[in-house]
Amino acid sequence: MALQSFNLTREMLDHSFAETVAPDKEKLLTCIQCGTCTASCPTAYAMEYTPRQLWRLIQVGLRDEVLRSDTFWLCTTCYSCTIRCPRGIAVTETMATLKRLSVAEGVEKKDRSARFYETFMDVVRDTGRMHETLLMVRWLLRTNPLQALSFAPLGLALLRRGKMPLRPVSIKGVDQIRAMYAKVREMEQKEEILR
């Protein structure tokens, strides 16, 4: 990727950004830009900023530039980078935190991915389980119903093999699940922490 330059102004920089996004800020700040993460990442080729570039942007504190990028939305949580990072940075976990933070700030680049994750969690709240059919229907309705057509061949193949039950089943303890969701929301609001 070509070298990118930024005309930095004070307002662009958030010096506590590394602290906000990493479970272990000290480690993230020791990133030596070796690029092992990028070399290990199966989706780096499709990212706006490679993982290596992203850590540098975080170190510098270019908060908006980071949160608006598509990099972490392409993370599949395969942990190749995490186990190889010579500095022991919690790379994969940081990617997940960036997803939450970019949604919290309403700047998520891959909104279809973000809505997919949210719909997944809604289905779990409502039934206690993930149910692929319900998840797909709700997600497509929220994003792009026309896209249902592109999933039709797969849906049919699964239906024919009895692998796509249409009716979701709720667990008996679904009230427990809802109580846990409510408690989590209450704690997050009280402590003013990031979801």
Partner: protein, 291 residues
């Protein structure tokens, strides 16, 4: 040997063949799987993308239920395994997490003391049961069947509890014990694309294509994760278009292949559920009998 069984949501729907064959294989090997009553979704990777505390609390409810049973957990799905496993790791790392988790579980009338060990099904078969017992139970040799062992990512990473992170061998040993011809494969733990195949399809198809492009000459791929199985099995038409050549390779669960080697009845293998039919290549091992 007795375990609390956590099948995970997919094994109730798109991966019935994994659930049915895993239960049958464990029974044959003298290991008991007791389903966790009223288990809930582990949250998988979407949970941590939406809400950190829920990504700990959802799996923890299952740990609390297993603790009541006094048993360690066996998880069949690699993503479930990691979600359940990481709860204790995160509590150890962050002392403030345990009391908060207790408060969340308390809202559901549950407590968790942290005594449950979480195991991947592959770990239990490879290490608690072992290749020798598997070999002793074998009724049909897999000799001549060229098998690609595909582990997937979260089966071993990031905690590497029972095998290596890049080129694990526990499944290879089990396949060798059943006399299969294990194909050397460098992409054993490279990502299958996970849910990108739904949300960002071009990238997902690229990842699956990379994996399947390296399986030339093999008869089948074997997996231990329902997401890996689905991604490798269900998109071979797209993969063929991308690679410009026809890819048509069956993708079986390890426990299906074991059930074949144990000569269990067809209703405990459910080969009709796999999208690419494994039947043609199974003629090599004389299945079904008399074919």
């Amino acid at each position: 040997m007795k375990y609390a069984y956590y099948p995970g949501c997919t094994l109730e729907t798109a991966a019935r063949e994994y659930d049915v064959s895993a239960r049958a294989v464990f029974r044959e090997l003298g290991a008991e799987l007791v389903p966790i009553p009223d288990w809930n979704c582990c949250g998988s990777s979407p949970a941590e993308s939406v809400d950190y505390l829920l990504s700990i609390a959802l799996p923890a409810r299952n740990l609390a239920l297993a603790e009541q049973m006094g048993l360690d957990i066996v998880a069949t799905c690699s993503s479930c395994y990691l979600s359940l496993f990481k709860v204790e790791k995160h509590c150890q790392r962050d002392p403030s997490l345990r009391p908060r988790l207790a408060e969340i579980l308390g809202a559901a009338g549950l407590t968790y003391r942290g005594t449950v060990r979480v195991r991947h099904m592959l770990d239990v078969i490879a290490n608690d049961i072992g290749p020798e017992k598997v070999q002793a139970r074998m009724r049909r040799s897999l000799r001549g069947l060229r098998v690609v062992p595909y582990y997937g990512c979260q089966t071993v990473r990031p905690f590497m509890e029972y095998d290596g992170p890049d080129l694990p061998e526990s499944m290879d040993r089990l396949l060798a014990a059943m006399e299969a011809d294990v194909v050397p494969y460098l992409y054993k733990t490279r990502c299958c694309g996970s849910i990108l195949i739904t949300s960002t399809k071009d990238v997902g198809i690229k990842l699956v294509s990379d994996l399947l492009a390296e399986t030339d000459g093999a008869d089948c791929v074997v997996t231990v994760c329902p997401l890996c199985q689905m991604n490798l099995d269900a998109y071979q038409a797209e993969v063929s278009r991308k690679l410009g050549r026809r890819v048509n390779i069956p993708v079986l669960y390890l426990t299906q292949l074991m059930a074949l080697a144990f000569d269990l009845p067809a209703q405990e293998i459910l080969l009709q559920k796999n999208i690419v039919s494994p039947r043609p290549v199974l003629e090599k091992i004389g299945w079904p009998a008399g074919s």
